[in-house]
Structures are given as structure tokens and as C-alpha cells.
């Protein structure tokens, strides 16, 4: 029995479970993983990559809209939050999605300060998740390179 593989698989399993437990990911991420197969081994990493690109772009646009205190385009900000909430929901990025909920509330009442805080928070959260998932995908690669298979992890 190849214990290196078993150790790596255990490490992977513990790590991914912790991401769910700490609220970074929700069940939608599991759905994404379930859609991946040996024919499409990069599906999840490709989808999340698109998501992170989206985050960067949307945050940048909203930042510009919020810049001038006298001239905030709340409509644009609302549109950005809506899109961000949608895509975070589609990939299972739970914390990002939750910030978007608060963000929308600030936007609805034209609270610029609140919006700026949420913007900062959403920026932090997506970058944090990006790092975590990069580590997760690296673990996957190590398992595959060691000749093992990536565990199907059942999150209860």
C-alpha cells in the first residue's frame, strides 16, 4: 500500500473539510466537484479562475463608482454586487456571497461608507479564498503525481 498517497489524500480530505467548516465553501462547491470527471480534470479550477477574474474586475469597477463622495453611481454598484453575488453563489464561495448580502443592503440605502467597508471585505474574502483553493489544487496535483486518485469527500 502506498502510504505517501494515503497521507496526501488524508491531508487533502482534512483541508477541504476545514474549508467547509470555516464557511469558505458551501454545498455548491461540492456540486462543482461532482461535475468534474477524468475527462475534465480542470473543470473546477477553471470555473473558480473565472470567478476570481470576475471578482477583480467587478471590485475595480465598483471602487471607481464609489470614489467620489458627491457622485456615487449606486446603480452601477448595485449591478456589480448583484453579479458578484450571483457568481459567488454559483461556485459555492460562501463568505463572499454573504458579504454581498450586506453590501446590497448598504447600496439600497445609499450608504457610501457602508459600501466602502463591504467592498474592502469582499476584496479580502475573495483573495483569501483564492489562496486557499490554490493550496487545495496544489494538494490535488501532488496526489496525482504520486500516482493516487483525488478523494470524493462527503461533507455532512
Amino acid at each position: 500500500m502506498n502510504t505517501v498517497v494515503a497521507q496526501l489524500q488524508r491531508q487533502f480530505q482534512d483541508y477541504i473539510v476545514s474549508l467547509y467548516q470555516q464557511g469558505f465553501l458551501d454545498n455548491q462547491f461540492t456540486e462543482l466537484r461532482n461535475l468534474q470527471d477524468e475527462g475534465t480534470p480542470d473543470f473546477v479550477s477553471e470555473v473558480v479562475s473565472l470567478f476570481f477574474d470576475d471578482c477583480a474586475k467587478l471590485i475595480n469597477n465598483m471602487s471607481r463608482s464609489l470614489e467620489q463622495p458627491e457622485n456615487v453611481d449606486f446603480k452601477q454598484v448595485d449591478s456589480g454586487v448583484h453579479q458578484l453575488k450571483g457568481s459567488s453563489s454559483s461556485v459555492g464561495a460562501r463568505r463572499v456571497k454573504n458579504v454581498c448580502i450586506s453590501f446590497k443592503e448598504c447600496c439600497d440605502v445609499h450608504n457610501r461608507e457602508g459600501c466602502l467597508r463591504c467592498l474592502q471585505q469582499v476584496d479580502y474574502e475573495y483573495k483569501m479564498l483564492k489562496t486557499k483553493l490554490e493550496d487545495l489544487f496544489k494538494l490535488e496535483q501532488r496526489i496525482l503525481q504520486a500516482g493516487g486518485t483525488i478523494p470524493q469527500v462527503d461533507i455532512k
Binding site: Q9, Q13, Q28, E31, L32, N34, L35, Q36, D37, E38, G39, T40, F43, E46, V47, L50, F51, D53, D54, S79, H82, Q83, K85, G86, S87, S89, S90, V91, T149, I150, P151, Q152, V153, D154
Partner: protein
């Protein structure tokens, strides 16, 4: 401790394969979100559908050939069996796209499903009243897609059954050949 399983090939089958590739459901998916396009495309491929994905309602109309200014080439292979569209899109919304399709004599019979991240009852009602086949909340589930596919395949099945009956009769008339005996043994 989680069980370590072998990766498996995703294939939610259409049941026993009555259909060749020519009879796969062709779905046109419309969504301005790149993430959602990739996601819906995968859901549809896993469900054994042929998929065309576009990023706007305008492009959807162009693809269908409803936009007079820019017709797409190769209309012969175009046959779309289902349109799945996001509701909130910049420019033309999914609702407006739905209306345009239902107003078109050429395409009004194509079922249109509207998808939205927002559970707004008046919105849902409006879409259904306008002739939407279904309204799905995002993120769309694989079970939503397979359910849609199955119900649409049933409709298609009725017209194919007659054709298949004729084909089967012909195949069994070659009864004495060893090849056909092997085929039966496999089943």
C-alpha cells in the same frame, strides 16, 4: 474517514440509447455571466445534450437567425430544441428574449426556460404567462437539467418511435447472421 473512490466518468444517460448523436437535445444557453455559462454548459454536457452557449440575448437571436442584420451561417444544423436563458442581462433581458421567441412564427414552439438567482414571484408569473416552459432558480441543479431533458425527450421520442420500429424490423430480418446473434447475447 471519507472513502477513497476512483474518479468516474460523468454520464447521466438518456436511458437505453435509442438515439444516435443526431437526436441529442440541442440546447442554446444564454447568460452574461462567464462563470454561469461555464457551469450550465457542463451541466448540459453531463446530461448528454449538445450545447451552444452565448453571452447575450442579442447573440441568441443572431444565432437563431431572428436578427435580420446578422444571420448566422449553417442554419441547417441549427435545430435548437431548448433555450435556457438568464433573466437579468444587460441590454435585452431574458424576459424580452422570451417574448421575441414566442412572437416568432419560426421559433415559438421551442421551449424556453428562464433562470434567475432571485426568487421573485411576480417575475416568475410574468415569465410563465409569456410562455416559458419553466423557471429555474440559480444555481441550477443537475436534477433540474435532467428532468427538463427527460420531459423533452419524451416528446421527441414519440416521433422517433415509429422510425425506430421500421429500423428494428429490418435488423431482425437478418436473423441468421452470427453477428446479430452476438449482439443479442451482449444485451
Amino acid at each position: 474517514m471519507a472513502e477513497v473512490l476512483l474518479p468516474r466518468k460523468m454520464e447521466i444517460a438518456n436511458g437505453p440509447s435509442k438515439f444516435g448523436s443526431a437526436h441529442l437535445l440541442h440546447v442554446l444557453a444564454v447568460d452574461d455571466s462567464h462563470v454561469d455559462r461555464k457551469f450550465i454548459e457542463r451541466l448540459l454536457r453531463v446530461s448528454s445534450c449538445k450545447v451552444t452557449v452565448v453571452d447575450s440575448a442579442t447573440r441568441a437571436l443572431q444565432y437563431l437567425g431572428l436578427d435580420v442584420e446578422k444571420k448566422s451561417v449553417g442554419l441547417e444544423d441549427l435545430k435548437v430544441n431548448l433555450i435556457m436563458t438568464d433573466y437579468s442581462m444587460p441590454g435585452m433581458t431574458g424576459y424580452e428574449l422570451l417574448k421575441k421567441i414566442k412572437e416568432s412564427s419560426a421559433f415559438r414552439d421551442i421551449p424556453v426556460v428562464v433562470m434567475s438567482s432571485e426568487n421573485i414571484l411576480p417575475r416568475i408569473d410574468r415569465c410563465l404567462e409569456e410562455g416559458a416552459e419553466d423557471f429555474l432558480l440559480k444555481p441550477v441543479k443537475l436534477s433540474d437539467v435532467t428532468r427538463l431533458r427527460d420531459s423533452l425527450m419524451k416528446v421527441a421520442d414519440l416521433s422517433f418511435t415509429k422510425k425506430r420500429e421500421l429500423e428494428t424490423e429490418h435488423a431482425y430480418s437478418l436473423d441468421s447472421s452470427p453477428r446479430s446473434q452476438l449482439k443479442r447475447a451482449k444485451i
